[in-house]
Symmetry: C2
Subunit: 164 residues, 2 copies
DNA sequence: GGCATTATTGAAAAAGAATGTCAATTCCTA
DNA sequence: TAGGAATTGACATTCTTTTTCAATAATGCC
């Protein structure tokens, strides 16, 4: 996979802002573009450390913010309160099915939604940069577990005579 | 608006779990059911304080978690890292068009998306509790402003002969 | 190439939010 | 109403995000 276009876009943003293209920024951007999926600051920091242990967490943090400003990254939130970052490329998708019980995340993709999103952007006169689309619910196994717990609670608490 | 059904559901959950129905829990649930929209712990706490200043933040926090467990509340995250809670009623919509430049938020609603969401939940065997759907982009006026700034940046650096 | 200026870095501290602790209080059952 | 368990609320702790600031590195100028 070639990420030249991303690097160029970042470079261009950096110089337009009158900022310096430093080795740290290059390495962090590199890691970001090559590490698919949505990851926390900590996870990116670990990866960056492998590349160059001298780079600090603060710099990773700031560079991720910078990538967001440049429109190349997106900060997304599931339900655990930890910020995650992922590629905000127009062909990357941010549709997730999140289990509120166990935290499991399934990536989903439906071209119809993409199509409608573009329609809506046109309707409201927006230049679409990305989106976050999280469906929250309870996955099958957690639903089953909750069901069992509910039954145990009924059965254990007091022998229920009444129905419903 | 009558929230009896919600209160009953909460009551039922409380007793099913073998928990006590306390005055605090009743007041907090009351505030939650009557305070429309998505609010942070702090905001709910303020409201509860008005009702009963003796109730502590911890109890509000715990009761909101309880409401989530009961499937009556949902914890949602925008992009500021603060957890917000809102009614997990099936008819609540969370679709927003957000301008990343000026922060303007337009509420959107498209029944086709709702329909697809239910389809997807079925496909992945999830019990849907709610969703967050944010489209991020640049609104028309901000896009125009950014365009001007880009041109000024070009013009300022070196006298540009070419037209964009 | 060397120097001054300015931006950037990274360790540590601060700020902020979420969660845990525990003695005091309240609630439920008998 | 008494006993035992659950709950409460002030505070402490943990965890993440953000700021601070002295040291360092990059850029432009000569």
């Amino acid at each position: 996979m070639d990420n030249t276009a991303f690097h160029n876009a970042f470079q261009e943003f950096i110089s337009r802002k009158g900022m310096n293209a430093t080795a740290q920024r290059r390495i962090i951007a590199e890691v970001f573009f090559r590490f698919p999926g949505h990851h926390s600051l900590e996870e990116f920091y670990q990866r960056v450390q492998q590349q160059d242990p001298s780079i600090g967490q603060t710099t990773v943090y700031r560079t991720l913010k910078l990538l967001c400003e440049a429109g190349l990254a997106m900060e997304i939130h599931f339900s655990d309160g930890i910020a995650r970052y992922e590629l905000a490329a127009s062909d990357s998708h941010h549709d997730h099915m999140v289990c509120v019980a166990c935290g499991r995340v399934i990536e989903i993709y439906d071209p119809r939604i993409e199509k409608i999103q573009h329609e809506l952007a046109r309707k409201y006169d927006f230049l679409l940069r990305g989106h976050v689309h999280n469906l929250y619910g309870v996955c099958a196994s957690c639903a089953a577990r909750e069901q069992r717990e509910r039954q145990r609670a009924d059965g254990g608490g007091l022998p229920a005579e009444k129905e419903g």
